[in-house]
């Protein structure tokens, strides 16, 4: 997977600029964390970087390839090597846990043998700590279990690039601990992580690169040390509110 570049991204919704001429790059093999006050456009930027929502202007490059002009084959390859962990799990409601896990595998590895396919699903669910039945539908799961399955689904194709939209929100401390450990493992595997975390502890541990946002604009970007010592007043306020909030 290559570096991801977002060039002059603007997104307008209901006549309001959600993102305004955003220019940022996410380096390959590093963990980039977007921080900023609530409603500043962190989740939206993450979804735009993953090309999940349309934009009004700008371009997204994966290496030197424009994501919006990629051939279907290249786009499928990009999707195979990347995954997205949603804030609210976003499991497919009419599919069982097994089917939620199986769809990405079947799509990208159509010729995988059934026993290897099933073992892979069970292995991923074990890895995230999900122990309940694989035949349950998402409505029958607790919030924490949904998050675990969502993480397992995101990791099933061993992606090189993972987008994470606040995976620790709305989970109890024991599940949060498991998820944090898993994120640390992903970080140590040299995968590229682009995330929106609200946990300063996690940010301090794994962030290689911070993107500070306010009102749909990038305030500042840089490594964790430079951002923590930034003289920019907006950055200082955001950092202090993040630390106080925790």
């Amino acid at each position: 997977m290559h570096n991801i570049y977002l060039n002059n991204i603007t997104l307008i919704k209901n006549e309001r600029k959600i993102l305004s001429e955003v220019n940022v790059h996410f380096p390959k093999g590093k963990t980039s964390v977007i921080i900023g006050p609530s409603g500043c456009g962190k989740s939206t930027l993450l979804k735009v970087a993953a090309a999940l929502i349309p934009i009004d202007s700008g371009n997204i490059f994966v290496g030197d390839k424009n994501l919006f002009k990629m051939s279907p084959v290249d786009l499928l390859e990009f999707r195979k090597n990347s995954s997205f962990v949603f804030q609210d799990a976003a499991l497919w409601a009419n599919k069982s846990v097994y089917q939620n896990m199986s769809l990405p595998l079947k799509l990208h590895y159509p010729n995988m043998e059934n026993d290897i396919h099933d073992n892979k699903i069970l292995e991923m669910l074990r890895l995230v700590g999900y122990t309940d039945s694989i035949d349950l539908i998402p409505a029958a799961l607790s919030n924490g279990e949904r998050k675990m399955v969502s993480l397992a689904r995101a990791l099933i194709n061993s992606p090189e690039l993972i987008y994470m939209d606040n995976p620790l929100v709305l989970v109890d401390p024991s599940v949060a601990k498991k998820i944090k450990k898993l994120i640390m493992d992903i970080h140590n595997s040299n995968a590229t992580i682009i995330a929106n975390f609200s946990s300063p502890e996690l940010i301090k541990k794994i962030a290689d690169f911070l993107i500070v946002m306010k009102d749909g604009k990038i305030v500042e970007t840089g490594d964790i040390e430079s951002i923590l010592n930034s003289k920019n007043p907006n950055t200082a306020i955001i950092i202090s509110s993040l630390i106080n909030h925790s």
């Binding site: 979804k47 993953a50 090309a51 999940l52 929502i53 786009l75 499928l76 999707r79 195979k80 990347s82 995954s83 997205f84 949603f86 609210d88 976003a90 499991l91 497919w92 409601a93 009419n94 769809l103 990405p104 079947k106 799509l107 990208h108 159509p110 987008y163």
Partner: protein
């Protein structure tokens, strides 16, 4: 005033062009699905089961009852004017040409159209569509196309059932009230049933199926972020599908019989 009218016109033309673009995207994705629709086949089967098979009870009951009503009324009134044999062309005009496709369409709008808009709307609100995109699944191929094919095929099949039960099933019901010779009844039905009637009925079913599925899918995807938008879009989908089906019916009749 003129400015408002201009903006209204521009917005409607934009919406129409967007809708047409959406329709052509579905048609394009349908060819891709036919060539390589391995992942969405189960969705297609489920759609046909829900739309075509589970609606069979309602459709057959309505068809039998409607056919019986037409025969009973016709046999009671028409002979008084010396036009007893007109009951057969009337039966075919109402059941095969007009009410068959139209009533099936109305039932499918109420049953499947609403279900499709609601389901896709919920998928949007719960970020399931984004999860499909992130996985590499094209929502148009996986969600829209199976529903488009499923509803269109199901409407065609339901129209066949409707004609079968309307023309044949109702005969048996009327035997309790106005006994008619079976040989005479079926001979006259077949004599009055022309290829034109059958083709017109098939064309209408297909056109109505396309309208209902595309409109329902389109409004499902129009939901943006709030669950309160789902019933609003469902109401719009139902209203639009009704109006477009009736307009299409009028247009087909106009083209076909003039």
């Amino acid at each position: 005033m003129l400015g408002k009218l201009g903006r209204w016109l521009i917005n409607h033309i934009k919406a129409l062009l967007y809708g047409l673009g959406f329709f052509f995207q579905i048609i394009k994705a349908t060819f891709g699905f036919i060539k390589n629709g391995r992942v969405g086949r189960k969705v297609l089967t489920m759609q046909i089961l829900f739309t075509g098979v589970q609606a069979l009870n309602n459709i057959s009951l309505i068809a039998v009852a409607l056919g019986a009503v037409i025969i009973i009324q016709g046999v009671g009134i028409l002979p008084q004017f010396g036009q007893g044999d007109l009951i057969y062309p009337i039966l075919i005009t109402i059941i095969t040409r007009e009410l068959g496709p139209m009533l099936c369409a109305f039932i499918i709008i109420a049953r499947s159209g609403t279900a499709i808009t609601t389901e896709i709307g919920s998928n949007v609100v719960n970020h399931e569509i984004e999860a499909y995109i992130a996985t590499g699944v094209n929502p148009l191929s996986y969600i829209a196309v199976p529903r488009f094919i499923g509803v269109t095929l199901s409407l065609l099949l339901l129209n066949f059932y409707f004609n079968f039960f309307g023309l044949i099933g109702s005969y048996f019901i009327t035997q309790f009230i106005y006994p008619i010779q079976a040989a005479e009844y079926f001979h006259k039905i077949l004599y009055n049933l022309h290829l034109d009637d059958i083709v017109s009925s098939i064309i209408k079913s297909l056109v109505f199926g396309v309208i209902i599925s595309v409109v329902s899918i389109y409004y499902g995807f129009q939901v943006e972020q709030s669950s309160t938008e789902i019933p609003q879009m469902t109401i719009k989908a139902v209203g639009t599908a009704f109006v477009l089906c009736i307009l299409a019916d009028a247009l087909i009749v106009l083209i076909y019989y003039t």
